[in-house]
């Protein structure tokens, strides 16, 4: 049996298990087991133990529970209320006015949180009722919240990036740094669309509120100082290379606890809830990573990724064509799978292909994160749609429709980073030196 046949059989088994609702981690491990036993004739049990132990007992991976816990703590503070109050007075003269609080709020919360659903839920909880109360357009508000929430995984820290870095064996800090500029570009695109829409529909934007004096604006924004300090702290630590990603994450937790204390939200219950939540979420992700490690062992023994990469190379696709096909593939996958599973599932097979075609592993990380963001707002299983559906009672398809213009911004952003890869590579190269 040749390698292509083996890979088709394994792919078939995996798809059947996935579609049948077997847990992702268990599906990966079962496929790995079958591959090893049937085709590689290697002892499958020892491999299972080594893969699971090696994957979980990892110093690098310890950053994951820390970053998750940090987000969980902040999720339980008044940060989002403070953010809305602090941002609102500055936006009076911008076309679109308070509508931009969704984009800015998500961008700022995204730089302390690593999750898209949590960012979307946190900002929407405050911004949505405030915007609707003041008479802003509901469609734009919903669309921008659903899509801007995904900034949580593009702007570091990001759980998705940690998972990608571990799966691709790349530097977490380098990928974090690479996310800053695309994150800013995306925020500009989102805000640009809101401004353009508001200029075209002036009747749908409520009148400006009474202008505060400069001093009052500063006073109102005082609430944002703790959060700004935390962001500044994380950025400086990352940029200066003072700490490893894990240490940086631990200090992030310390900072978040300080913010929670300062806003008097750190009850014993909140503390325990955030810790238990973080433990469960980390466990879920690490279980998937362990299953994937076992499957990649099978891949290494059967040589599927190498063969596939060579086969793709013989197709003589231009790099843009390859990227285009992969983008479509991920958009399709994203309609059915969550982002973490999507990355872990594909990285062993897709990465050799991409590297052979001359793309950088860090660049591809940002590319894939942007595609995961798209997946979060595409029905039927876009998670941000689901979050807003639960919060507003609106149907997921209505929200997906409202996000279409912002979806287009995401696609445009993918185009920009593909044509100008420097937007991704510049910051990490300047700060950490060009990678060998």
């Amino acid at each position: 049996m040749n390698v292509i046949e083996i890979s088709l059989i394994l792919l078939g088994i995996m798809l059947v298990l996935l579609a049948g609702g077997v847990w992702i981690a268990i599906t990966l491990a079962i496929t790995g087991f079958l591959g090893l036993t049937l085709f590689a004739k290697t002892p499958a049990g020892e491999g299972l133990f080594t893969a699971f132990w090696g994957s979980n007992a990892s110093w690098e991976l310890a950053a994951l529970p820390m970053f998750i816990w940090m987000g969980e703590i902040l999720f339980r503070t008044k940060l989002s209320e403070q953010m809305f109050e602090g941002l609102a007075p500055w936006l009076n003269r911008v076309p679109g006015r308070l509508m931009h609080t969704t984009i800015l709020g998500c961008g700022i919360f995204g730089s302390v949180s690593g999750s898209s659903a949590a960012t979307c839920a946190t900002i929407a909880k405050v911004a949505l009722p405030e915007l609707l109360k003041r008479g802003y357009d509901e469609k734009i508000a919903l669309g921008s919240l659903a899509t801007a929430g995904t900034l949580g995984i593009l702007i570091p820290p990001s759980i998705t990036m940690v998972v990608y870095a571990v799966a691709a064996e790349a530097s977490i800090i380098r990928i974090f740094l690479a996310g800053f500029i695309p994150g800013l570009i995306l925020m500009l695109l989102f805000s640009g669309y809101i401004a353009w829409w508001s200029l075209r529909n002036p009747d749908k934007v409520p009148a400006a509120e009474a202008e505060l004096s400069f001093i009052d604006k500063i006073k109102k924004s005082g609430n944002l100082i703790p959060c700004a300090l935390l962001i500044l702290f994380i950025v400086v630590v990352l940029v200066k290379g003072w700490a490893t990603a894990t240490e940086c994450a631990a200090y992030g937790v310390l900072g978040s606890l300080a913010i929670a204390v300062q806003s008097r939200m750190l009850t014993w219950r909140n503390f325990m809830d955030s810790l238990m939540s973080a433990t469960r979420v980390s466990c879920m992700i690490m279980f998937i990573l362990a299953g994937a490690k076992y499957l990649s062992l099978t891949m290494a023994f059967t040589g599927i990724p190498r063969e596939l990469a060579e086969w793709v190379a013989t197709l003589q696709l231009s790099p843009y064509m390859l990227i285009g096909i992969l983008a479509l593939l991920y958009i399709v996958l994203g309609t059915a799978l969550d982002g973490i599973s999507m990355i872990v599932l594909t990285s062993t097979v897709v990465l050799p292909m991409i590297l052979k075609a001359g793309f950088d592993v860090v660049w591809f990380g940002i590319f894939i994160v942007l595609l995961v963001e798209i997946a979060e707002v595409t029905p039927p299983v876009g998670f941000n749609l689901f979050v807003l559906q639960n919060m507003t009672g609106k149907d997921a398809n209505t929200i997906a429709h409202a996000s279409l213009p912002f979806f287009a911004c995401l696609v445009l952003c993918i185009g920009i980073i593909t044509v100008f890869p420097q937007t991704v590579m510049w910051l990490p190269d300047v700060i950490m030196g060009v990678a060998k």
């Binding site: 133990f49 816990w69 955030s274 466990c283």
Partner: protein, 181 residues
């Protein structure tokens, strides 16, 4: 199922979950402590090994609790469209695969860790310790996950809806999305 059995099983999963949470907290404490010690130029050799083991312990011990809590992700696109009776068939099928895999995982966790103990294998990093001690968390987590899977399998066979489904429904109804990435 008798009430005491139900209660003691749930207690077991939760206890393992709390222990895992303690290890997450320990990662935090050790990281902060080690960076302070480095500033005071106290040697911190072996910290990386210690943190790696804490991370493994947190991951393994939380498994039964996270599973019961509905945190393990899967593709629900198709099964969520089925009617209740057919959906139940798929849940039972999925749990059967789960039980089979967990049995295999627990068996090999025990066998390999026992091997480490029997041959006195030491860890090969800076922190030298019999490796079976940290590996014990793998054994404990895998065995408890097997128990939790089997427990759920039996309950669903007896006609109850899976608790990993109802737990998520309740959480989302409260508007709590903190556990979704």
């Amino acid at each position: 199922m008798p009430n005491t059995l139900r209660r003691s099983l749930d207690w077991l999963y939760n206890a393992a979950g709390f222990l895992a949470a303690f290890f997450v907290f320990a990662i935090f404490a050790v990281m902060i402590a080690s960076s302070l010690m480095r500033e005071l130029s106290i040697k911190t050799g072996g910290i990386e090994d210690l943190v790696a083991w804490l991370c493994a312990a947190a991951a393994f011990l939380a498994m039964p609790h996270a599973f019961k809590h509905g945190d393990f992700v899967r593709m629900e696109l198709l099964i969520s469209r089925l009617g209740a009776p057919r959906r139940r068939t798929f849940e039972i099928g999925g749990l059967a695969f789960g039980v089979a895999f967990c049995t295999y995982l627990a068996f090999w966790a025990i066998r390999m860790t026992w091997g480490s103990y029997e041959y006195g294998v030491m860890s090969d990093g800076l922190l030298v310790l019999p490796i079976w001690i940290p590996q014990l968390s793998f054994v404990l987590g895998a065995v408890l996950l097997l128990i939790a899977m089997t427990d759920e399998f039996v309950c669903v066979l007896m006609g109850r809806r899976p608790v990993y489904v109802t737990a998520v429904e309740e959480r989302h109804a409260r508007g709590d999305f903190s556990e979704d990435i």
